[in-house]
Symmetry: C2
Subunit: 216 residues, 2 copies
DNA sequence: AAACTAATAATACGACCGTTCGTATAGTTT
DNA sequence: AAACTATACGAACGGTCGTATTATTAGTTT
């Protein structure tokens, strides 16, 4: 099965990819509103009008940027966590992957969605709606992961409640690390809280991933 | 002792007050960057140049806006909480006051500082520095309040750790309520988490404020 | 009443905003 | 080779941005 490719479309795709890569970077630092078409074009050394033609409106560019960020997020956080077997250890992996994603600065401005959600939380329109949807998606994944651990008898908790708490720790660590030029102490603090919370919810027989094999 | 007042200065003060009141409103929804001098002047029906003269630069306007927001925050959260006696009940009051402040939308866009801190977290400059300082101030207050409760033998915890966790619950509830047009369910969830966390840290004899006198 | 000061206003500036338009170029199809 | 299509470009549009300069008005002091 041979796939004929249109060189023009390939070129367009590459441009689009480059634009969105840069857009995600800029927006994670300066926000989706601070992301301007002129600046984006200048940094990529392409024409403003040519760039604009790819999206048709600022709002479409913003939406495409959030979609691009979502793909990066899935690759950086979701997929690595799903590589761990379901159950307690996957809940822990999810936390570790998230903190790592924030600390590694996958987006230079910290978690893209924490930033964008705060930027658009009090507004209306498609951008906000999509951000809300992505957030729901994520919370659902965390709840589901917790649910699996409960089903496997490794955890005892209200999934929604525990998911809320874990998420709170993630976001709080992310913000504090940004605001205070953190050297890692804040992430350690978050890890400590997560560990304590999970430990208190673990069932008796469950092996705790952060203890290397034997109990202390 | 009689105080002679200069009518011109009074007039200027009133204007300044009105400007900052509006500025804080706008910024809590559209951010400190979205806060523009032209828009501010238009909404207040005064001249752009006259308004500008009060601050001298956009950055000074932003700093003055954050300072104004801080005063409102102190009035809405800190002072009411300090009306409660030190100890476990004050820790609880702090949480209640904060959630109430967020839920009542003292700022139309939810917590001003959550928004502004995310906006400036990844940047440099005086605005970010001041936001970081205000945050430190707040965290310190929470830790100190927890410390008092420990000294009084009503609580057992690491103050920094518990403060981190409570703050995480506050901010997380604030964001989720904005993003999902909350009817109050999210605040209830936060209250539940806070209650559970405080209950687990309370010492044996401590009366729990949310139980009306007798145990269940 | 004159001199002075503080607050406000009018006007203008260059830079950048998102957007539109006409055109040139590269690549595909016939 | 001709017709067509997708991508990219330069130039211009009306607006708004933050800021500077200059003038006017309101209020105080002498």
């Amino acid at each position: 099965m041979e796939t004929r490719v249109d060189g023009r479309l390939v070129r367009g795709d590459q441009t689009r990819r480059a634009v969105l890569g840069k857009a995600v970077e800029i927006a994670s630092v300066d926000g989706l509103e601070g992301l301007s078409i002129g600046r984006l074009a200048k940094e990529l050394e392409i024409s403003k009008s040519g760039l604009f033609a790819h999206f048709g409106s600022k709002e479409e560019l913003q939406l495409a940027t959030v979609r691009a960020a979502r793909r990066i997020y899935v690759t950086a956080v979701v997929e690595p966590a799903l590589a761990t077997a379901p159950g307690f250890s996957r809940v822990w992996a999810l936390s570790e992957c998230w903190l790592d994603y924030s600390q590694r600065r996958v987006f230079p401005g910290g978690c893209f969605f924490a930033k964008a959600s705060h930027e658009y939380g009090a507004r209306r329109g498609p951008v906000r709606d999509y951000l809300a949807e992505v957030n729901r998606e994520w919370v659902q994944l965390v709840e589901q992961t917790i649910g699996e651990a409960i089903s496997l008898g490794e955890l005892e908790a209200d999934p929604a409640q525990l998911a809320f708490e874990l998420n709170a720790y993630y976001d709080s660590a992310n913000l504090a690390s940004l605001l205070h030029d953190d050297d890692g102490a804040i992430y350690a603090q978050a890890r400590h809280s997560i560990r304590a919370r999970l430990e208190s919810a673990a069932t008796a027989g469950t092996a705790l991933p952060w203890r290397s094999g034997r109990s202390r």
